[in-house]
Symmetry: D3
Subunit: 61 residues, 6 copies
């Protein structure tokens, strides 16, 4: 605890995901005073045809 | 804002997803008085072997 | 099925939520060809101090 | 209702998922006094490079 | 890991929630071969006016 | 985009939540190369009797 979920458009590299997990964990630990070893991060990839803003799929923009 | 997530059995066409995002956005905008340009829709596909009702996987029905 | 979750800033009336559930259900049913009686809608209220964009809590704007 | 989501590391067999849905449904039904036919279970597979604890991706451990 | 979320209509007692967490944890541990000490359960209460089926809020039924 | 959800045990102050949103947004922006103005953070408070590990509610520990 805490549990963090990050929803991203697909296409990030493993290197970016590795840095994301590391730095988000540090930010959460620092700001809410939780030990880093208890912090869990889930990454969710969104395909471009599964995400819409203002009524339009991202894949149609 | 608002943020809408629609969980569906996999297999819908892009044409159906396009219409879904458009019409759900309009329905939300109209009923809760939010500008359409602020409304976000996420679609999540569920495989048939990842969904169960009454104790039975959908893929076994 | 499908299952729809709508995350809203708190403060909408029951009348707005009633209309939201009705019209979102109709929009989903029409566009992905699912019977309305199978469609489930969850509403989640977000307090203004639990939601941030661009690094700033909504309650601070 | 109730709705149960189980997030797992990818790699379980269909036989394990079948048993999971069956036994979780029974456990929920028994403990909160809900008819099994109303209980829905969603399974979500997590890839090892989409899950981190203590700042490190599971795929790096 | 695994992570389980159970969404329930509000109104269950703490005794029911205690039994729910215990028995769901056992069911998950047994079926997907995960040690119980790694299993996390989240309970989410749904108010009756935040949940609709077939276009109608549960609080209107 | 991206969309970040942070699930926390209840009890953090608004000052902690403000810092959390700010620093998580910066960490995500930096690591996945997304403009901060597009990043959304949701905070979810968990009551201690709605969260269990190893089969035991946190409120019973």
């Amino acid at each position: 605890m805490p549990y963090v979920t990050v929803k991203l458009l697909e296409g990030r590299t493993d290197e970016q995901k590795r840095a994301l997990v590391k730095e988000v964990t540090e930010a959460v630990s620092r700001t809410v005073d939780a030990p880093a070893e208890n912090i869990v991060v889930f990454i969710e990839d969104m395909p471009k045809n599964h995400y819409g803003v203002a009524g339009t799929l991202f894949s149609d923009k």
